[in-house]
Symmetry: D2
């Protein structure tokens, strides 16, 4: 990997996989490397279906609790998920070292890689670290990577900068790339024009969008159709509407503990049982909001504990939920029929 | 009206229709006046269906062009709309005097009030002016009013303040109230808890939500079901998903010039022809974005001109669209199959 | 006025005071009308000094309490203010009718117009209403007007739109214009380039900026120096730093009840007693925050009551302060040495 | 270090340096460890003065150019700076590995540590990584660390979470902590109440605030005076006003290439030559804006090249400045008298 990278740098003067041509649309036409094989002629990797972005279980001392992870996976394996997203935002990836991020993916691949599609979060702030992390995730067996928008230098994250970043990462990646837009954490809402341009890259096969703008999702499905681009809903709060406008699945925190119900919603939609699907969707919105924007990962982990999974503590600076909040969340789960007081 | 208002003030010390009881949930149980008759026992006014929030046509000197309005209405009358929203945001209500706002509603009622449900925008910044404007709209024949969130003193628009405002207006209104949340203009996104509380008021029968958060809409349908509360999508960009999660119709700028297509989308949805509905929805997103958040009312009026309606100039400080923008918008309409170059 | 306006409309097709020339920089060179006399050759009206943006006192029934206003003015007159701003944001102008706004200015002019410079808030959403309101304010004796940025159609308030709006208003105004940027209410922070362009207009003599970005203020003083442009701090929280970077005074809510102290700060600064000025400034920040962004006009009116002025109720939907908030505010005033428990 | 950490975890169940007592104000009274010695009785480290947050020079292949760094430092050493901030936002710390961040600090300490105060940026997203990084920075000779607010899980960064994070880091740090609030990158504006609470911690000695809210800075100086807390302006755009309200110095990007002028401003202020200070401050605002919020680190590095320092490329995804932007920036430097075309 390092060798390839250096070669590119020598040629174009920036971290980039292309020997010639202008940035940032430099990939068009002359893509070298692995990516070429991914989509010319053959279809891209099919990523349709549902995935929980799995929580990372920690022990009390904040070390990763691999035994608990194994237990959780064994239970998740009984649910008709398509696969798992490992080291996404709900996995507290931002609080883990490079080694931890990779090691956990390796663990999940070894345990479930034969039956489930393993997608690894490999995004870092810099392009070069993202390239290296992506390579490492491929090396331990991930089938695709989810790459979040860099976001620290917000003022510099122009559309051109983002197109450049993702396309260079995709140029260098041996496995397909899924774009990841999660403005509640990054404040960067990947613009439709950026996504549409990137959808033409043979090694960029899809998008997870957690922003929840259903008009945007519908428009993106329509505008990227010719590129076999696959869009995944980033939250169970709008899973049914997302299917209705053409999304192919979802990566939803709720799947960490209400996976069966989520898969049931998918089934109802596919069988055209819209009224039942609507009723189930309705019941999911408030619990979903609890474990995402309202109480975040701490809420998610408390809910996992309620449903027999291991949630456990988060890493600091995320704080444990207060008793008041826990009580309020419990009420919502009860009111929506997912728990009996 | 003035008499009633003064009486209330004497009783509770604030602009309020209730003789006794604490603010802001003071209406519970002891509602006096017109509102009482609206929902106890009988059903509330059914507002399901589609409405264009009609543009206000201006002459070159910025006076209202009533002849052009009449022409537009005659064409709109051929479309199976449920009714018209007059003096909404797309009607540039914020740029009109009290007299103009009322006079235009009177005109539309006289021309179409027998066949169409006329909903008038009556929101003002102060509670007292909103009460007076609402009364005036009722006097000229509006069947319901759309009341936008006050927004100038943002810091003071707490949930309690908004609950108080809307409930007092509803207490005093002889016709039903529809809440109106349009954060792109007001920066105030009416919170679910406010809407849920207000949905219990017998004279508040629905909500137009232009925010586009489909999870919120689904949740609101679910949480207000027991109150016969009716939710209207505020934009054609998410009309199909809104129907899917239980909205009963829409108030959509696009209806000003693509009304037939909008009504066709409603029909496809109701007949369960989801694939066709999705295709039509897909084509609507980008044109809809042009005439709403991208180019606003100036874009809307240019599009109306293209489709044979009178759009004409906006009032200043809204500026005419630039040639570049007009060209870009035209391209989008052509690409989505609504115009042939 | 109406006659002039119509003539312009006939000539240039938009609400505009100029017979020929392109928008929006049409005023350069060929300014007709009253504005011509204001700055060519002679100096513009000197607006340096301190002003309270006076609160509008209401009776319990929310009518204007003119007797209380008179009492307040008599007390304010004993303080070395330069003048009064009437119908600014702190005056709840957004909750008053056209007639009320004008009538209150007339009252203040009659009472204090000989000794104090009366500046009237005349901004409305539309350009045409702002022009009319400005004329009315001049007619009742205001010496200058403060014109707030229109803000309802945020997406349409481009720099060009704002330049056009203010310059057209200035073209038509018989008295000088002061720009007014108050992003906490409008969400529109008038851009430096807009202000710099407008500072060249002979009838636009200054700016009240409540945003609090001291770098921006310093830069604006520097960039508009050649145009005799005068900048007023919009809040007492940064009055001393504003003087230090070249502002000529301030329009500060705090002046409604701590006017003597505010004028003392100005004196200390002018005498070069920087350490004492700093100490006084320090004590002002927290009380000032209470009556502006933290508790708004309700906080301001409570504080006025504490200091022997008439504050009284606000108009609805602004709500009375809670007891908890009132207590918290009182503590801050005590801790900073302005009240003794 | 690790040993201490484990002991704490055993005691209080979270990453924390305190054996007993409630979170998050647990440090009061019973502080163990190194921090105790820092401020009880003796004065805290004096950090007053000016610092450039030095840019990290990269070669074309994006590796760190240590030779260029040495050259830059030799030139900076001729300027009366108090010291250097290494691995701040302008140092592109977010794009560097743990090893790179530490190694660069070691390099600067070895070269300049005898004459200059070296402050290292040690903030990471997680509390545990921040503790480890802080220890490493101390090990290579940094005299204090600058700790940025964690920001990825924005929804979880409550005031309590931030107080907990910083106080635990301070508990474990062998050298003093300076809080770092830079909302343009993090969107988190450290609240006054958080800063005031943290100012009581014996090992938290100051704040770098880049937000530019001068009222906030004045209030913080006032409220933390009794704790010997030292506040540094985070930008040269408001350096003079910051001094006026009681800040003790600044960490300003502009110092990377206009250090002499910055120190001159400090001198003028200290000698009471306010008019000259104002003139110099005025000239700095626009160039400063160019290398901070307008063009960011790419702008900063271009400017460094202009002034004879090595700026060089940024790391990707930051993009090189366009020619148009470069030209616009050049014009501003010329117009303000810092370059002659």
């Amino acid at each position: 990997m390092v060798r390839v990278l250096l070669k590119c740098i020598a040629a174009c003067g920036r971290v980039c996989g292309v020997v010639k041509g202008p940035h940032p649309s430099h990939w068009t036409g002359n893509l070298a490397m692995a990516s070429l094989s991914t989509r010319s002629g053959t279809s891209p990797l099919d990523i349709s279906g549902l995935y929980p972005p799995i929580a990372t279980p920690f022990n009390k001392d904040e070390s990763i609790a691999y035994d608990k992870l194994t237990n959780n996976l064994q239970r998740w394996n009984e649910i008709p998920f398509r696969g798992y997203v490992v080291q996404g935002s709900n996995g507290e990836y931002a609080y883990q070292t490079v080694e931890e991020r990779v090691e956990m993916v390796r663990h999940v691949v070894q345990l479930c890689g034969d039956d489930k599609l393993i997608i690894a979060g490999s995004g870092c702030e810099s392009t070069r670290e993202t390239i290296e992390m992506t390579q490492k995730m491929a090396d331990v067996g991930a089938k695709a990577v989810l790459v979040v928008t860099p976001c620290y230098y917000k003022g510099g994250m122009s559309n051109d900068a983002l197109v450049h970043h993702f396309s260079v990462v995709a140029d260098h990646s041996p496995i397909p790339i899924i774009l990841y837009s999660v403005p509640s954490n990054t404040t960067i809402d990947l613009a439709p024009e950026v996504i549409i341009r990137l959808s033409e890259h043979p090694n960029i096969i899809g998008l997870k969008d957690s922003g929840g703008d259903i008009s945007k999702l519908g428009n993106l499905v329509y505008m990227t159709k010719k590129n076999d681009f696959q869009i995944l809903a980033g939250s169970a709060g709008f899973l049914l509407p997302a299917y209705v406008v053409g999304c192919v699945g979802g990566v939803c925190a709720l799947g960490n503990f209400l996976g069966k119900e989520m898969c049931e919603l998918e089934r109802l939609y596919k069988e055209g049982r819209m009224a039942e699907a609507k009723d189930l969707q309705h019941r999911m919105v408030a619990p979903n909001a609890c474990v995402t924007r309202r109480f975040g990962v701490p809420g998610l982990k408390v809910a996992m504990d309620w449903f027999g999974y291991y949630g456990g503590p988060t890493r600091s600076p995320l704080m444990p939920m207060s008793e008041t909040d826990t009580k309020a969340m419990r009420d919502i789960f009860v009111r929506n029929g997912f728990l009996s007081n």
